[in-house]
Symmetry: D2
Subunit: 382 residues, 4 copies
């Protein structure tokens, strides 16, 4: 019964996130990294249909064979998929059709979940819910991108939007040299990339108990941070020049004042606010300017119990690589994490748009170093 | 009063063309050449607001300053415009907002048209209506592209769709050498590119009284027309290879049978039907395979009184260039035609989706030689 | 014997054009439109080997089968070719190997030409010589590009370089309305695109007896010609902005003074000199700024006997299209002209680097409208 | 005196590597990653002129100010540089000019080295020699690419080419869990990225004492390794499909037999030979197919004393990141390593074309995961 309740809660939350949208907002894909909200609604539903109902639910008949083609994401195992850049070109299925698809699958899932289930199937359901929670976070980031790149700068909502709590008094925490244990070691759910609890040896380091603020980052901008190559990785510097980057994503200078796009539309920048929407390149350049550095993901995990986190995904200096003993699961589920372990950087923590209960100290998020549309931030180390 | 009635009729027809669409269909832009239907609705409205109401209607206040930014097309005179590839990324203004904008402008225009108007203003209104009729044709072509490139192949409408009449018994008409007059020479409306009535000297030629059928073109395909470079322009051959072109747009071979996307969805190809949706390159290659050629636009105009036309826009062997004495109008209106007079080929005639009363024997349409989403066809000459 | 002498003269002239080069200059290809001089040497030789020695010379054995692969240009008939962008990556065959190839083929050709030859074969030899003369002009243009885009700006030669004669007193010549005959009508050699002598009807026009000078064009620049979209075709305006064009090719503003790269290296611009190295877009924009236009190729040919020409290839307002009755020759030779008859503009005249005896009043050159590395100029009409 | 001798030896070796080349081979740049040999000759010379002679040698006058522009590589500190893709377009300075530049700088350096030198200057000289040895290796890899991508497949040399020694009897070496020390800890030269000797904690692992052979890799190919996405990273799979990769670089299947390009031209593949020229993606996919993995760079360093290495640069599963306490040197020299620490994978060992004395157990090489023109190989771990 707990699982049915969890299922309903998670599925319902996805709908609530979309509630402030107009039909048109569900359809567009302004850049390749963003998916239309309609697609998230369909894809998370397709997951349950494909990995649970089809193989395990007796008498279940597939809702629409074409939807498999439309809502598959990157699971090569499952067959031909819609080229990712084409998602924003699909006006059909319409939003109402996708919602009907959700209702159909939800009803079938609820019947299915009332039956006795094997451990393996329960694990798959929980994976599906965690998968949907990941897409809830992506929904927020994609919706912000869609509305924030519209010349009318429409507000998402004056009330429904996530809020970030205040921060602590800044201090550098000192962590002593030695052996630390890294990786998940509890009984609940975690992703496969967190498994393989293992020892690492860390040198002595210090790490900030707070995240960088808008004010601190503005100082970097005004000190010429974006026009001095010395602070940047070579690829970061190319990225700055090729894309004429001069500020974080969503920041605009209007009549000499810094504005940024928020859930309430275009607003003056709050200097005390926690910096958001910067790339790994920017995070590393800012740290270099401060004559500090980003922590590794191991340093972060070893110290995280001593500071507040959860407002921003925090860039680390660690590339996304397998833990010792990492083994890919067989079949399509095995495509989940391992195949992305190259050319991406690890983010630790969680963000203002992470679903409740979806964050863990061992959680490993990962993105390419130039991406900024996630709710990313900076914690400094030395 | 005639002008008010014309205005209402034309404006209403645009809405009717869109009536079978779902909200989502108004938003997407699958390729750069296609504009979202929502944009056509706004842009045709923006034309009347910008070129008539703003300069000439007393007390008119602009509906929304941002709309000028969003709905300008290519008029450099009027200020910054939305980059063309971005049109499909705009979920706002929503369809209902655009319709409200139309209603606002329509009401203001109807008030305005009841006043006494100068010749110049009346000419601008008529230009605006002809401009909107051009966009009505583009609406049909763009809607067909949007629905026809969706993996679900939704029908536009089982009843509302345009129909093409039957064709005549094929014959080659002979036209004798001599001087012919080319260009518009009547009192009604025409575009500036048709003006400059002038003499041309034509050699003797023959021209078909019918358009090429699907059956004839299928023979070209099955004879290996797409794999023999000899029939093709060098750039056409590159286009065939780079895009792996093997059939007209919207054609699919399913289990050995030719299907094509139509207003009623995916349907078996009618062999007797008039060929549609081919590029200039394909038209020229087909003609070369037939050991014939396309007519020039002058040959077409000199002979057109002797055959039925109007089902397809017909590719000619003429590049789009100014007539003798062509002069660009001053200001933004002057951007209408002259600036496109390079790298495009002339099409003559009209098509099944041309608005009633919008075709003339002197009408000059023009597109880049690789484009196929218009309702293009082939008439052979020798 | 005349043919042998002509053969030797033309072949020798190609070598002389390259004489001032260093070995390294023969190899590079700075842009796709430019071919390495080494390639021109090989390709013109390959023409005689492929179209004359192989099919017609008894006992001739091919010099090196791989050279067919390397030195074919765009003749699809003859087999796989080196992708055009790869030409500048080929360090082998070395220059000395290509010269040996030339000597081998020249010796075989001279033996071959001493035999009695059919009309058809003699026509092919003459075509080969005209083909080589075209490549002599391209050699000059490509050498200028290679040296003129080197940061050291090396001189080609202080003595060997082509010179341009002085110009006439400017005047507008008046040509009266009526029928004119266009196309080649003599007994010597011409290209297939000049054939099909035919009547055209021209309206009354005036045409300048001189070409535009550097001084006149500098006035256009200083009047803001490159920053006012009104003078430009839409595609020309995109080209200006995307490529940040602000002056003709090879022009540089150094300490407020206009310099340009010449055969003698970087030199101050001569205000009286004839303008060179502008695109069709620039030519048309300059004409629009002058409230004039470019002549059509028919207007040019009808008037050319009345003015001096030959210093610059002159852009016309005519697209490159077939004359009435144009028929492609069968086989590879037929690929020579017809397949380029789309998206290119006609140039008339000749230039300072055209080979002696290679110019005719009916000669039709053609290039894409954005290209500037040819010795192009502007003659105005109205 | 030792330093002068070392200087002469290293500088002379660069010339010897180029000895088998023709002048034309010095000029071309077939892909952006490859530099023309002429450029390597100039750039290594520029290093000594810029970082030693200019700042420290009394009365030294710069050889040619333009050379600074041409031969700078990626040192943003030093001023505008030639865009990297343009290197292959530069026919001047000619090879003989570059050799004269080398002689000039060598003579000045030898005079300079006879004077008493500070520790700091001696360190810079030694850095310059190590820098030149790195370019010696790149010269070999770039020369192989230039000749191996020429359709004539010219041999580099029948005698002068590097040779690879035979391998050992295969075995898996077992390394026990615990703390290991990583990084350089000797008195000689090392690069800054090797410094920061530090402890790491390794889990138990096994590592092969031999490198993968051509035969073993051919089995992967024939088992369909390149057409099964399961073995590949997502980006690796995209790379395989977009570039139609089906075998290592330089491999060609001719009449059913595997050939590969070698220093002696195109030769049958030796099944016992050590596999070479594979990307990180291929290395990781091969390991996955074997149900093994690549070692981390720490596992490699901890075990390397127990096996023979030096024939191939060996891909590791480690991303190129700073060691604890890594600090960039100030000024241009500081650009050497740190700014590349993103999106690259570490290679350990050395290769058949590494300069004598240039390899160390702590040496960290690094390349982007798709690159194959280095002499890369695979060592498996578990």
């Amino acid at each position: 019964m707990q699982l049915i309740n969890d299922f309903k809660t998670v599925r319902q939350r996805t709908i609530q996130i979309c509630a402030p949208l107009k039909t048109e907002d569900y359809v567009v894909q302004p850049v390749v990294d963003v998916s239309p909200p309609k697609w998230h609604l369909g894809h998370t539903t397709w997951f349950f249909e494909t990995f649970l109902l089809q193989p395990y639910a007796k008498d279940y008949t597939i809702y629409d064979a074409d939807y498999n083609f439309v809502f598959n994401s990157y699971y090569e195992t499952i067959g031909a998929r819609v080229i990712r850049t084409d998602r924003g070109n699909l006006s059909r299925p319409a939003v109402e059709d996708v919602l009907r698809y959700r209702e159909h699958v939800d009803a079938a899932m609820e019947r299915f979940l009332r039956q006795p289930l094997s451990e393996e199937i329960m694990a798959l359901v929980i994976l599906g819910l965690n998968h949907e929670e990941q897409h809830q976070e992506l929904l927020y980031t994609d919706i912000k991108y869609i509305l924030g790149h519209n010349p009318l700068f429409p507000a998402y909502s004056s009330t429904a939007a996530p809020q970030v709590a205040a921060t602590d008094t800044p201090a550098m925490l000192s962590v002593k040299e030695g052996i630390y244990e890294i990786g998940y070691h509890d009984k609940g759910f975690c992703f496969d990339n967190e498994l393989g609890r293992h020892k690492v040896y860390l040198q002595h380091y210090t790490i900030s108990n707070v995240l960088v603020t808008n004010q601190e980052y503005t100082a970097f901008i005004h000190a010429g941070g974006y026009s001095n190559f010395r602070y940047w990785h070579a690829e970061g510097w190319d990225w700055v020049k090729n894309n004429q980057i001069t500020a974080p994503l969503y920041w605009y200078q209007v009549n000499g004042q810094w504005m940024h796009y928020t859930w309430q539309g275009l607003q003056p920048l709050d200097p005390e606010g926690i910096l958001c929407h910067i790339s790994f390149y920017e995070a590393a350049a800012f740290a270099a300017w401060k004559e500090m550095r980003l922590p590794t993901e191991f340093e972060w995990e070893a110290a995280a119990a001593q500071f507040n986190w959860g407002a921003r995904w925090e860039w680390t200096e660690s590339a996304y690589l397998p833990y010792p003993g990492f083994i890919k699961a067989p079949g399509a589920i095995g495509e989940y994490n391992g195949k992305f372990m190259v050319n991406q950087m690890v983010l630790r923590g969680a963000s203002e748009v992470t679903s409740p209960g979806h964050s863990r100290i061992s959680y490993r998020n990962f993105f390419h170093p130039h991406l900024r549309w996630q709710f990313t931030g900076i914690r400094l180390a030395r």
